[in-house]
Amino acid sequence: MSRAMLEYELESEMEGEWEGEWEGEWEGEWEGEWEGEYEAEEFFGRLASLARRAAQNPMLRRVGLAAARTALGGLGSLGSAVGRQLGGAQGADWGRRLGGAAGRYLTARLPQAEYEFEGEYEGEYEWEFEEELNPIRRVYPDALMEHLGHAATEAESEAEAEAFIGAMIPMAARLIPRAAPAIMRSAPQLIRGLAGVTRLLRRSPATRQLVRTLPQVVRRTAASLARQTAQGRPATPQTAVRTLARQTARVVGSPQQAVQAYRRSRALDQRHHQSVGPAAAAVRRGAVAM
């Protein structure tokens, strides 16, 4: 079975369950309105009303779990690499199958109860951030990551969106240096997993805006990997992808987390645009000179 088929199988596990429901939920409200920031405001505004009521959203949770399963697709490539080492091309094929099976195995261990891990690491997570990098030095890389997330949401093509998403991984390694070795070791698998999540979320207009939460997913994954390293549990590519999947389910599947991620994204993206203001003016001067 090819890797593409394995990934499709993981994706299609959830697709039939939620896609139709999503369209029924939002269709009349969103149709024709998916342009720029206005749509994002509307989308996350509705999520915010759910968050204020501490309400759960089963459909959003299913989206989060589907996205998490897609992230685990990155394990197929790990299996292929190991398989090739052992037995050449045939070994690579078997390795892909094993990686996909590992993905299914781990999928069963994603949170089943609603918001099982909600708030579990939040306090630790904030502390980790403060310790890793000076807040002033961190602002610009953070803002750039959010800008990349925004660009990925608005990109016209899937490939371009995934290019922006891929660029986030090395930035996360710089933001949280303690996680850098784990990220370096697992970069291809993390990028594949994240690209798969991006592809899934962008597929439907109803979920496309959730791509803006992915910078938060990346940051939280890096922080978690740093924490694991500090606790003497060095992260392998497999555990890194599992961590990515868990953070994806947690952030994307929760109205509170998704809204929080969006608000942060909006604030930092605006800061990024402010920081490039003088450059933007120079470009305008250049355009006039042309």
């Binding site: 593409a4 090739r84 660029a167 991984i169 090395p170 370096m184 291809p188 390293t229």
Partner: protein, 301 residues
């Protein structure tokens, strides 16, 4: 600590030669190694450069043999692909420049993202016309020879990661995955100093490298040249940094022109292209070994 570990890995490279073959790495080596045995020993200066570079540092004769093999193999590939790469560079350079110089999103972004790439592909397949925008971009000549020594010298972890991502982008079957990898490679190719001065250019550079990757991957014979993309990014960043240091504004238009220039220079020159790909192969092997080593436990107390 991370940098020190990386340097130690370089020192151990000769000892651990052959211990691990990274995914697809064996394919690449077998494609090149021994293919033109002895043919290019005098043609490429890199041969002698490698021996002097590593003498005393890497005692392993086996390691040197493999380096020569890689150099010969890469040289063989570049020699075969040179005419096509020159043609690709002529078409791709202005396309990349146009992509980098255009605002993100909107109708212009849609055109750049899709149609220019298709136009470039048609131009390459039909060999019909020189891309009409080519005349807009005047190629900078004031820094001729400035990058001659770039294949030498130690590599940072981020640079090695960039080369690794580019090698994956060259080999993967999926177009979208290739662009995701090259996005990571672009981000990782920038040094700390370059990132500070070029952060507003990064999204544009990512778009440029994504389109370039798409063009190079269209034809099987040019696909390995995707490994040279980190070198193109690095050279672009260095040029822009020098421009900034000279007091000139680093505008999007300047970035577009610079990246177009470096794209053409690297892809059109067999020697430069070969050096870039060899650097990528060396870095990929080292990074692959680093990923298979069990991580050292953290120091307690």
């Amino acid at each position: 600590m991370a940098t020190r570990n990386y340097e130690e890995e370089f020192e151990l490279e000769g000892e651990l030669e052959g211990e691990f073959e990274f995914e697809g790495e064996g394919e690449f080596e077998s494609e090149f190694e021994g293919e033109f045995e002895g043919e290019f020993e005098s043609e490429f200066e890199m041969e002698g450069e490698f021996e002097g570079e590593y003498e005393g540092e890497y005692e392993s004769e086996e390691f040197l043999r493999r380096l020569r093999g890689i150099a010969r193999g890469v040289g063989g590939f570049v020699r075969r692909a040179a005419p096509i790469l020159r043609q690709v560079a002529r078409v791709a350079a202005p396309v990349v420049g146009r992509v980098v110089g255009t605002a993100l999103g909107g109708p212009a972004g849609a055109m750049i993202g899709g149609r220019l790439g298709s136009l470039a592909q048609r131009a390459l397949s039909e060999s019909e016309f020189e891309f009409e925008a080519e005349g807009e971009f005047e190629y900078e000549g004031e820094f001729e020879g400035e990058f001659e020594m770039e294949s030498e010298g130690p590599m940072t972890q981020q640079e090695a990661m960039a080369e690794l991502m580019a090698s994956v982008a060259a080999r993967t079957q999926s177009e979208a995955e290739a662009e995701a990898m090259i996005g990571a490679a672009t981000s990782a190719s920038l040094s700390r100093v370059d990132r500070a001065s070029l952060r507003r250019m990064l999204p544009h550079l990512v778009r440029g490298t994504a389109v370039l990757t798409r063009i190079l991957r269209r034809r099987r014979i040019t696909r390995p040249a995707v490994r040279a993309v980190p070198t193109i990014v690095r050279r672009t960043a260095t040029s822009l940094a020098r421009r900034a240091a000279a007091g000139q504004p680093v505008t999007r238009r300047a970035a577009a022109r610079t990246m177009a220039t470096q794209t053409r220079r690297v892809l059109s020159s067999p020697r430069t292209c070969a050096a870039a790909i060899q650097r990528n192969v060396r870095a990929t092997r080292t990074a692959a070994r680093a990923t298979t080593r069990r991580p050292a436990p953290p120091v307690r107390g």
